[in-house]
Every structure is written in structure tokens, then in C-alpha cells.
């Protein structure tokens, strides 16, 4: 098996992990607006040869730009940069018209923020139109902003209820959860990812400032992943989480378009409303890690809990992160315990192929708890074409796993990520809005 060519038995996804980033660098020379940066060939749904969960290399430039237009939204199969913010909002929009205006405005802001451009100058007696955090010219900095809709948005609006994606639902409590109502659910989710956290913060503030009549912030969680400078041989590894393990090793190959169509993107044959094709389900979980306790746990036990070596990330019996465990030769769990995290999450049986998900998490650190412990954990974000077969099925298999002693899910929510926007004359969610008016038209 080649590095990062993820094996799921019956597909031949073969992403070349060693090609250099193809993302477009843009020149700032005098361009006055996002549009002035011209047309770029790449599409939002394309990866760049890296796996989504590869550690960022730290060689990134603030001029890097992820294309906005495409069949799918960016920020899902595009490589995960070093920092992210997940923010959930309540939406105040009572009519399809309100919703349309909101989505148009949101699209307009996202295009500007992700593609970059100059901030207009106003009379200094007026509040400036931009927070100024990034200076007078907003650099794209690899920013992606990914928009998802929660079940409550559909359920609380009669005109949307019939159009709700099939498996979209309100997140329920799993046995090990201790959900904090103030960090759960929402009508709309925005996932911000960029090289620098300030770029995400700038973007979030821009949206809060520009859409006050529609959006009420419910909760947000910042996160990041450690940067690892590229190795001389060009090999990449997955970024480590706050338990010190490489996280993302066995992710399905995000460069394999056919596999992504099956695992991540909603399409024909999924029994979903037409407007939802090209979208995906987003499962977000804020999972606290009891890091002090973890750091007092023997290494051997830590490794058995996950089923992987801490140093190399290799599965038991292997030597490299990309090696694939063969459970058929270990039916009793002598090598990899039967209740190891990776074995429960993916037993690598043919049936388990239906439960594949694409994980794209960040680590978070929120300060100190009342007990004087570190409040750290994983901002878990996963994408799948079917929420029930994906996240919910996998989490159900994980219920009761030994890792639970060291983790506590405290927040999150489920969202449906809108399909991409094909061009400048269109806006996010347009097919949904148009489906509403079609449904409304008396025959």
C-alpha cells in the first residue's frame, strides 16, 4: 500500500500525495475588487494532491486562494489549513424572500472574503466598513467558508419542511455525552478554515457585521492543527490531535473523486431532494479530552485504546502510518484489541464500507475548567453522504469504547452543507429557494 492510498477493499482510489500544492497564488497588484482578480481555472471541489487531514506544512502564503465556484462548496475535500472556526447561528427569516436575501448576502460576503480584495474607503466620520484586522487589502489566505443548514431551519418553517434532506435531524445525546445546551445545534453553520486564525476571525466579524438582520450567533469553537514542515523526501503525515496521536491516517482518499462521490457527496440514487445534490452532511462534535489523565496513562494502554502506535501512527503489526491493518488475520483481537477505537470505528468488513466518513477535525484549547484542569479537546468535523449510515452509525459502534474514559462530548450539531455555486450569477442555496417557489405555485 502506498502512503495515504486508503484501502477500503473494493475501490482503487490512488491519490498521489507528493504533488505540490496546486492552489492558485494571486497577485495583489492594484486590483480593486474580488472580481478584478479574474477567472481562475480551479474549482472549489478539487483537492490539491494532499489529503484533507495532512499536517499543514507551514510554507503557506497569505496569497493562497481556494476557488469559490464549483459543484461543491470548498472546505470539505480541500486540504485542511492550520486553523478553523466552527460557528452556529440562529436564523431570523420568516419568508422564502427573507431567506433568499440572506443567502445572496452571505454568498456575496463569502466570495469577497475568500477571494480577497480591497476594502472600500468611506468618510472617516462613518464607521469603517471592515474591522481592518487584515489591513486595507484583504488577502485570501487559503480561507474557505462552508455553509450548512440545521434541521431546525427546515422544521420551524412550513415552506421548508417538505424540502428537508432525508437524514437531517437534531443531534441527540449519546451515552457518553454531557451536552451543554449553549454549545449545541443551530439553524446555520459556518465552517471557517484558513492559514491564520486572524483570517477566520476577520471573516466571522465581517459576516456578523453585514448580516445582523438575519443571523444570531449561538456558539462558536476555534481550533487548529500543528504545522509540520515538509520532510526532505516530501512525505507527509497526518496532524496530531491533543492526545498526541496522528489523526486522519485512515481517512478515505480525498483526491479520489469517485470515492468522494460515494462517501461524501449527495447525488442521484440517494433518495434526496434534487436541490440537495452536490451537498453533504456535516457532523460537528466538541469533544473534551481529559488530557491530565491521559498523560498519566501508560503508553501501551494509550496505543491499545486507539489500535495504533503513538510515534509512527502505524497500526499494530505495521511500520508506517499508511499501512493497513488486516483484521481477518486477527479475529481474536490479539494484535489489535477488538474494542480499539479504529477497529470499532471501521472493522474493515465489506459492510463497513457503507459507514465511511471523511473526518476534518481541529484541536481546541479553551482555558481552564472549574477544577483547574485544562479544557482541551477535539473539534470533530465529519462529512458524509448519509448522516445515519455515516456519523451516527460509527458513533453508535464506538459507544462504550475504552477511549470514553478520556473524552466527553459537550457540544456540536448536525448540518446539511449546501451544494456549491456554479458561477457569479448564482448564490448559495438557490436550488432550495427555487424548489420552494415551485412547490408554492398552484398547479
Amino acid at each position: 500500500m502506498t502512503d495515504k492510498t486508503k484501502d477500503n477493499g473494493n475501490h482503487s482510489g490512488f491519490g498521489c500525495p507528493f504533488t505540490s500544492r496546486r492552489q492558485v497564488l494571486f497577485g495583489l497588484g492594484g486590483a480593486g475588487s474580488a472580481l478584478a482578480f479574474g477567472a481562475f481555472p480551479a474549482r472549489a471541489e478539487e483537492g490539491d494532491g494532499h489529503q484533507v487531514t495532512d499536517a499543514p506544512t507551514g510554507l503557506n502564503s497569505t496569497l493562497e486562494r481556494v476557488p469559490f465556484y464549483g459543484k461543491h462548496q470548498a472546505g470539505i475535500v480541500t486540504p485542511r489549513p492550520a486553523t478553523g472556526i466552527m460557528a452556529a447561528f440562529d436564523v431570523v427569516a420568516r419568508t422564502p424572500e427573507d431567506l433568499e436575501t440572506m443567502l445572496r448576502k452571505l454568498t456575496e460576503r463569502i466570495v469577497f472574503l475568500t477571494q480577497g480584495g480591497e476594502v472600500p474607503e468611506l468618510d472617516p466620520k462613518l464607521p469603517p466598513p471592515d474591522s481592518g484586522i487584515l489591513g486595507p487589502v484583504v488577502a485570501p489566505d487559503n480561507l474557505t467558508i462552508t455553509v450548512g443548514l440545521g434541521a431546525s431551519l427546515f422544521e420551524r418553517r412550513e415552506f421548508l419542511t417538505p424540502l428537508k434532506p432525508r437524514t437531517l435531524q437534531r443531534m441527540t445525546q449519546f451515552p457518553n455525552d454531557a451536552l451543554d445546551a449553549e454549545r449545541c445545534h443551530g439553524d446555520l453553520s459556518l465552517q471557517f478554515c484558513a492559514n491564520l486564525q486572524d483570517t477566520n476571525i476577520h471573516a466571522l466579524r465581517d459576516i456578523v457585521k453585514n448580516l445582523p438582520e438575519y443571523l444570531v450567533l449561538r456558539w462558536m469553537q476555534e481550533g487548529d492543527v500543528p504545522v509540520i514542515p515538509p520532510k526532505p523526501d516530501g512525505e507527509t503525515e497526518s496532524a496530531r490531535n491533543f492526545l498526541g496521536f496522528r489523526d486522519g491516517s485512515a481517512n478515505p482518499d480525498s483526491n479520489d473523486g469517485i470515492l468522494m462521490q460515494k462517501v461524501v457527496w449527495v447525488g442521484e440514487g440517494d433518495g434526496e431532494p434534487q436541490w440537495a445534490h452536490g451537498g453533504t452532511y456535516q457532523a460537528v462534535r466538541i469533544i473534551r479530552n481529559f488530557v491530565e489523565r491521559w498523560d498519566r496513562t501508560p503508553l501501551k494502554e494509550q496505543e491499545e485504546i486507539f489500535g495504533r502506535k503513538k510515534d509512527s501512527g502505524a497500526p499494530f503489526g505495521g511500520t508506517r502510518e499508511s499501512d493497513v491493518p488486516d483484521y481477518t488475520r486477527d479475529p481474536q483481537g490479539e494484535l489489535t484489541p477488538l474494542d480499539a477505537h479504529i477497529r470499532l470505528a471501521n472493522p474493515r468488513t465489506p459492510e463497513a464500507d457503507d459507514n465511511l466518513i471523511l473526518r476534518r477535525p481541529f484541536n481546541y484549547s479553551n482555558g481552564v475548567t472549574k477544577s483547574g484542569q485544562l479544557d482541551q479537546g477535539l473539534l470533530f468535523i465529519a462529512y458524509q453522504a448519509d448522516l445515519e449510515k455515516g456519523f451516527i452509525a460509527v458513533q453508535t459502534k464506538l459507544n462504550g469504547e475504552p477511549l470514553e474514559e478520556y473524552i466527553k462530548p459537550v457540544g456540536g450539531g448536525y448540518f446539511f452543507v449546501l451544494p456549491g455555486v456554479s458561477g457569479p450569477d448564482r448564490y448559495l442555496g438557490q436550488d432550495l429557494i427555487e424548489a420552494v417557489s415551485t412547490a408554492d405555485t398552484p398547479i
Binding site: 431570523v92 466620520k125 462613518l126 445582523p212
Partner: protein
């Protein structure tokens, strides 16, 4: 929606001559603003006079040991303060003494320097008694009278008045929408109403000036957002003209108010610039 209902009808017996008022205005106020500023000064004077009067009754109830009466008077007494907060806040020593909240103090309710409306609210609702409240009541009376006389002497800075509309919305957005303000009595909606009235008064007085300088569109949007707010608040009015407990506010209406407050804050934050004030 009939707005006059929300505005205090008729001037009180404060015979403030326009010339005296104009003299009290800052020198650089543009000519257009003279009239709205004079009107606003009357509005504030009415409110602080009302505040003195209402506080007298509130304090008396406490000193009489009449918990029920004091509870009844708490929310309506505060409204005249909340309506003119942008001006009242100019005297930060009095603002702290009159309107600070427990979380402004490291020791919270136990802090001996925690005084004013919210200290009395704490005693009345949490402790259910007027015991030990006399000194706080006396202090409040003294502070309110002092505030009244200082405000009557005050030259109103035009940028504070014009900026006051947005400042009131910022107050609501930052610490009131969460229901932190009147946390023992849950009378927050009374304060909301007063804050909106205070902001609307300023906007309303500036309308003629804005009409000359700005698009109809802007005035329409702002007016529309105020209308929406009053419509929501109306649903929570009681027969006696007060408001139900803040806990009765639905999440949906809280979100709606929150978007309106923030949209008003954005729009009203441009008033100073539109009127050429620094």
C-alpha cells in the same frame, strides 16, 4: 403602530426657554441640530424629574417595610433612568452607584460597595425582605437627586446625543438581551422598552434633519426596525401596561429582538457621520 403612545406626552412644567437651552448647547452644533437638541434636553429633564418622583415612592415603600409595594415600583421607577442612559452615563460615579450589577464586583452580591437599584432588587427578590436595605435606599435617593441637578446644569454634547441612539442599542445587545440586567426580578422587558424609547426619541427628533441629508430608504429601514421591535414587545405587555417576566420571552422572539437590536445598532451608528459630527 401609534408612536405617540410611546413618547411622553406633553412637556412637564419645566419652563426652559429656548434661548437658555441654545446657550447650553455646545458651540459647534450645526444650526440644524439646535432644535432637536433643545427638544431632547426637555425629554431628558422630564425623565429625570420623573425619576426623582418615582424613586421617592420606591424608597418610601422600602423604608415602610412594604416588600410587595417596593417590588411593584421597582421596574416602573427604573424606566426613566434607562430611557436617558446615554446622558446619565456621562456621570460615571453616579451610574456605578445607581445602576451597577453584581457582576461588576469581584465578590458579587457580597461586595459592600454594591449599591443602587440592583442591590435593592437583590434584597427584595432574593432575600424577600427590606431588612438592611434602608441605607441603600437612602443612597439611591441621594444619587438620583444629584443626577437630576447635574443633568439640569449640563451642556449636552451633540455627538453624545446623536450617538446616544446607537449607544442604547449597544447596551441592549451587549448585556441585556441575555437577561442579565434584572436577573432577580426578571423585569428586563421594562428596561428594553425604555431603552428602545430612548433611542427612538433621538431618531425621531433627528428625522427632519436626516430627511434633508439622507435617503428615504435609510429612514424607512430604521423606522421599520423600530416598528418590528414595538410589535414584539406589545405581545408581552400586561393589562396594567407593564411587562411579563423575561423568562416568558420565547427563543424565537429573543432572536428576533436580537437581530433588530443589532441591525439598529449598525444603522444608528452612522447617525453621527451622516450629521457631520466627529
Amino acid at each position: 403602530m401609534n408612536f405617540t403612545r410611546h413618547l411622553r406626552a406633553g412637556a412637564l412644567a419645566f419652563a426652559l426657554s429656548t434661548t437658555a437651552l441654545t446657550g447650553a448647547m455646545a458651540q459647534d452644533a450645526s444650526l440644524d441640530l439646535v432644535e432637536p437638541l433643545a427638544q431632547y434636553k426637555i425629554y431628558v429633564a422630564e425623565n429625570t424629574a420623573e425619576l426623582v418622583k418615582d424613586t421617592e415612592a420606591f424608597v418610601k415603600a422600602i423604608k415602610d417595610g412594604d416588600v410587595e409595594k417596593a417590588k411593584e415600583l421597582f421596574a416602573p421607577t427604573r424606566t426613566s433612568y434607562e430611557a436617558v442612559e446615554p446622558i446619565a452615563e456621562l456621570f460615571s460615579d453616579l451610574d456605578v452607584s445607581i445602576d451597577a450589577r453584581a457582576d461588576d464586583y469581584e465578590k458579587g452580591e457580597e461586595d459592600p460597595t454594591f449599591t443602587g437599584f440592583h442591590r435593592l432588587e437583590y434584597g427584595l427578590w432574593e432575600e424577600g425582605s427590606t431588612e438592611g436595605l434602608d441605607e441603600y435606599a437612602d443612597q439611591l435617593m441621594e444619587d438620583v437627586k444629584e443626577l437630576n441637578s447635574r443633568i439640569n446644569e449640563l451642556t449636552f454634547p451633540p455627538e453624545t446625543v446623536v450617538g446616544g441612539a446607537a449607544a442604547l442599542m449597544e447596551e441592549v445587545a451587549a448585556t441585556k438581551i441575555s437577561g442579565e440586567e434584572d436577573r432577580y426580578s426578571r423585569t428586563d422587558l421594562w428596561d428594553f422598552k425604555a431603552n428602545f424609547d430612548g433611542a427612538y426619541k433621538i431618531f425621531d427628533l433627528l428625522k427632519p434633519v436626516l430627511e434633508e441629508k439622507d435617503s428615504e430608504e435609510f429612514l424607512k429601514t430604521v423606522q421599520g426596525n423600530f416598528d418590528d421591535v414595538y410589535e414584539v414587545l406589545e405581545e408581552y405587555e400586561t393589562d396594567e401596561g407593564g411587562y411579563v417576566s423575561y423568562t416568558k420571552l420565547s427563543d424565537e422572539d429573543r432572536n428576533l429582538l436580537s437581530t433588530k437590536v443589532n441591525t439598529l445598532a449598525e444603522d444608528l451608528s452612522t447617525l453621527r457621520g451622516k450629521l457631520g459630527l466627529g
